[in-house]
């Protein structure tokens, strides 16, 4: 659908809503429709707050999943910063290639829509390389290894910076881009060293990643279950678990019970590999056990890269997963994180789930979600005790349970490849496209709607903006707090930005699959993972890995 046609349609819909919903809605909607009808929306047409409010109403929370027309509209409305920096038609004749994902029909599909108005304005043309999640790493690694980088921009996660930026394959970010994207607005944990290599800035951040804890408020508010919990000798009051020990107990308690006529399940573990990405979910169970507040490392020993994955903390986390398999849904052994997040939890199966922020941004805006009104959020559960790798003992902290949010993947970013540097016009065009996608206002829309990205800027945590978009205040406060508190947690478990990190995760997934299927014990399986990890480190180069691991932890 063309943007103009869409705008007209929206204007018609908007006037109907005006009659029904009153003056407050009318103000925002008329601003939107007026802008759309003339077809030359710019940021100048709005005060900054008006623009943010207006884009958040596209299509509006609770009004179905957004589509291409919405993405184009948002892209057009957020073109102000581009127009201020670039002349119309300045990149005529420039052709750029963009490689990214097409997970859940998001990522690249949104970028296409967002960049269509940018292409129309600048005159540049973008061709797209869409990849499924599982195909992404091999495609990127092959391009690097064979010297056949055929893309000018890439959507990439920070863990791969070692593989790409470390090899000098990316273009350094110009200062004007840093200014345009309002770099200082990023939450602290996404500031350097993330996005940098050898002190140079490479990444336009478009996402912030951490696993938070998603739960069903209706289940934990149910009087009958509360009574059954009490009658069954459950420890403490019936409520949302705060520690993994409680998660285990609640999951066990729920086994065999019904809720609203359906089988009730507790915590959902993804037990099937996902091209390395499923390992993050064990990491989320392990971080509270393994990440000691006095120690920055939790995956490897800092000075030697000796794996910690077979220490008592990780083995306990693995054993926790194994213990809960009989209490999970049938066929859970064949459920990957995509299944647990989108086919199970959002569809109403399961009560607790660790996932990236997508669950929160999809709960109310995705057509397939049935839990929009009954979903709550917190940081990942803690643990009553934490393993101290230095002493080899379990510590009980005076401050209470140990919490350690898992900063899984450190978010997606857009990187410009160094191959454009030889052509100044092309280089500017590539950075302009990246800056458009990483713009402050556009990022708010991405955080609020299904996009594959979660909040990552300080400006994303203004609850009133989200409420204005139609979000329920309690829901969105709970969601944003879970994200903000994870990002700012002093004991966050940081992902190592070392080359080949997904090789480590992928090998671990194979061994974990054997453990989950009962073919190996938790300890023996963890030992096998550690052995395989050591072999990978040796293959890639232990000394350089140690150096990069330290750097990734800010040491």
């Amino acid at each position: 659908m063309k943007v103009d046609a869409y705008s007209k349609m929206m204007a018609i819909q908007a006037s109907r809503r005006d009659l029904l919903k009153g003056a407050a809605t009318a103000t925002a909607v008329s601003a939107l429709s007026a802008t759309g009808l003339v077809g030359t929306s710019t940021r100048q047409a709005y005060a900054a707050d008006d623009l943010r409010a207006a884009i958040l109403k596209i299509p509006g929370v609770g009004k179905g999943s957004p589509g291409d027309a919405d993405w184009q509209k948002v892209g057009e409305m957020c073109l102000g910063a581009t127009k201020a920096a670039i002349k119309e038609g300045e990149f005529k004749g420039v052709e750029l290639s963009f490689m990214g994902l097409n997970n859940q029909n998001l990522h690249n599909l949104l970028f296409r829509g967002f960049l269509k108005p940018w292409e129309a304005y600048t005159g540049a043309k973008i061709t797209w390389i869409d990849l499924a999640q599982a195909d992404y790493n091999p495609r990127l690694q092959q391009a690097i290894a064979s010297g056949t980088i055929d893309f000018d921009l890439v959507e990439m996660g920070a863990p791969l910076e070692g593989d790409v930026c470390g090899k000098g394959l990316t273009s350094e970010m110009p200062d004007w881009v840093k200014k345009q994207i309002e770099f200082d607005d990023l939450v602290n944990y996404l500031k350097p060293p993330v996005g940098t290599w050898n002190g140079k800035q490479y990444r336009v951040t478009i996402d912030g990643d951490c696993h938070n804890f998603n739960y069903r408020t209706d289940v934990f508010a149910d009087a009958e279950l509360a009574k059954a919990w009490k009658d069954g000798g459950g420890k403490g009051d019936w409520g949302v678990p705060k520690t993994w020990q409680q998660v285990q107990a609640v999951t066990k308690f729920m086994h065999g019970k019904k809720f609203k006529g359906k089988d009730l399940y507790g915590y959902l573990d993804p037990l099937k590999g996902w091209g390395g990405f499923a390992f993050y979910f064990l990491g989320s169970r392990a971080s509270a056990y393994a990440k000691h507040p006095d120690d920055k490392a939790w995956l490897f020993d800092i000075d030697t890269m000796k794996p910690r994955v077979n220490n008592p903390a990780w083995v306990r986390a693995i054993q926790d997963v194994v213990d809960m398999i009989p209490n999970g849904p049938p066929d859970q052994l064949n459920a990957d994180p995509g299944n647990t997040g989108f086919q199970q939890f959002l569809a109403g199966t399961g009560t607790m789930l660790s996932w990236w922020g997508d669950i929160g941004s999809n709960a109310k805006t995705n057509d397939t979600s049935v839990i929009g009104d009954v979903c709550g959020f917190s940081i990942l559960p803690g643990s009553d005790d934490v393993y101290n790798s230095k002493t080899g003992k379990w510590d009980t902290l005076a401050s209470g349970p140990n919490y350690s949010p898992n900063m899984a993947y450190l978010g997606w970013g857009v990187y410009v490849m160094a191959r454009v540097d030889a052509d100044a016009k092309k280089q500017k065009a590539a950075w302009s496209a990246a800056a458009h996608l990483g713009g402050k206002d556009l990022s708010l829309w991405c955080a609020a709607y299904p996009s594959g990205f979660q909040p990552y800027r300080n400006s994303h945590f203004n609850v009133d903006e989200w409420v204005g978009a139609g979000y329920d205040k309690a829901f969105i406060t709970s969601y944003l707090n879970s994200e903000k508190d994870s990002y700012n947690h002093p004991n966050a478990a940081i992902e190592p930005r070392i080359p080949g990190i997904f090789q480590y995760y992928s090998v671990a997934e194979d061994e974990l699959a054997k453990i989950y299927a009962g073919k190996n014990t938790a300890q023996a399986g963890a030992d096998a993972i550690a052995k395989a990890w050591d072999a990978i480190t040796d293959k890639i180069g232990r000394d350089s890995q140690v150096k990069l691991y330290k750097a990734s932890l800010g040491l």
């Binding site: 690694q141 064949n334 990978i536």
Partner: protein, 366 residues
């Protein structure tokens, strides 16, 4: 027409000139190929810096050499050269696309090439072989292949039944022939999603619902090793049975009718007619179909990758899906290539032995 070999001395001067020209064309083409490929190798090794950005020059030199070879054959051998020209494109294509990659792969198989390694590619002797011998995932996958290959015989039995049915005088025979062929036309990836991920989905999948209605309380098609393996076999069979069926149907239609009619006249029952006449006569076709299916089965990967990723705990893993993971998820090019090369040798040896056994058996039977 027979071509007669004539010594050079007996040829007329024009023929000798043509003959010599043919040799020169081939020599020029060969020199061009050697020089271009050599320069590219030196450039890739960093010894020279001629600015090659891709291997296309060598490819073009190979094509030019192919043309030179063809021209040379015609000029030096006349009509027999022209005849050879018909085979030449296929031969050169096979060399370029099968033989060269296999040899090149063999070279890679003896390296520690990992795409994430900053230190590049190194020859690592027999390390990859040692790793393979001690790799429980490889042996587990190979054991699974044994079960998958056994399942081919079940597929064969079903396919034979269907072929007999479609060969009989049944209503809407043409329709059923096309309908039964449809699964063969579907991509195994589509089958994985339509059947493995939708019809067999344990909450809302129709097959799961049917199973629940039949009394299976906790329906799970991919959680226990044997059920998961059987589920994969069933999906694979759904795609593959039509292939065997169509071969057998062709065989059945080619059988001499007289023998069966004679048996009928002699009072043979349907079962006797099938077991004593049809089945033995169909043995050559049957064995061809089974051998072909075994070769295809040994390459089973797509359904497994899409539905179970080899799980639960490796119960459905195949050698191909394991190689795929090793290469794709772990960027282990050297080791994955060694796995592929060794598996190729295993398949060749196994199929050769099988063919020998089959031909001996056939000699005995016939």
């Amino acid at each position: 027409m027979t071509s007669i070999s004539v010594p050079n001395e007996a040829l007329p001067p024009q023929s000798i000139a043509r003959h010599n020209l043919g040799h020169w064309v081939l020599w020029l083409g060969s020199v061009l190929l050697i020089v271009v490929a050599g320069l590219q190798v030196l450039d890739t090794a960093g010894i020279t810096s001629l600015g090659f950005t891709s291997w296309r020059p060598t490819l073009y030199a190979f094509i030019a050499w192919g043309c030179a070879l063809g021209t040379s054959l015609v000029l030096t051998r006349g009509e027999s050269g022209q005849q050879t020209l018909f085979l030449l494109p296929a031969l050169l294509f096979t060399i370029a696309m099968v033989i060269f990659p296999t040899i090149f792969g063999l070279a890679i198989a003896f390296t520690d090439w990992n795409l994430s390694s900053n230190t590049g590619v190194h020859f690592n002797g027999l390390d990859n072989i040692r790793q393979l011998i001690n790799d429980p995932y490889f042996w587990n996958a190979l054991t699974n292949m044994f079960w998958y290959v056994l399942a081919v015989f079940a597929q064969y039995a079903i396919a034979f039944g269907l072929a007999l049915l479609l060969n009989a005088d049944i209503v809407a025979r043409k329709f059923f022939r096309v309908a039964f062929l449809l699964p063969l036309m579907l991509s195994p990836v589509a089958v994985s999603w339509m059947i493995g991920k939708s019809l067999m989905e344990n909450r809302y999948g129709p097959i799961a619902t049917l199973a629940r209605n039949l009394g299976w309380e906790s329906v799970a098609f991919f959680s226990t090793p044997w059920i998961a393996r059987a589920s994969i076999m069933a999906m694979d069979a759904w795609v593959s049975i039509p292939f065997i069926m169509i071969l057998l149907l062709a065989g059945l239609q080619a059988l001499p009718v007289e023998v069966k009619e004679a048996a009928k006249v002699d009072g043979a029952t349907s079962w006797q007619s099938f077991w004593e006449i049809t089945f033995p006569l169909m043995l050559p076709v049957s064995l061809t179909a089974i051998v072909l299916r075994i070769i295809f089965e040994l390459k089973l990967a797509d359904v497994v990758i899409n539905v179970t990723s080899g799980g639960p705990g490796g119960a459905t893993d195949t050698v191909s899906s394991f190689i795929y993971r090793e290469y794709r998820d772990r960027s282990n090019v050297g080791y994955a290539t060694m796995l592929a090369e060794v598996y190729l040798v295993i398949i060749i040896v196994f199929i050769t032995l099988l063919m020998n056994f089959v031909s001996r058996y056939m000699r005995k039977v016939v």
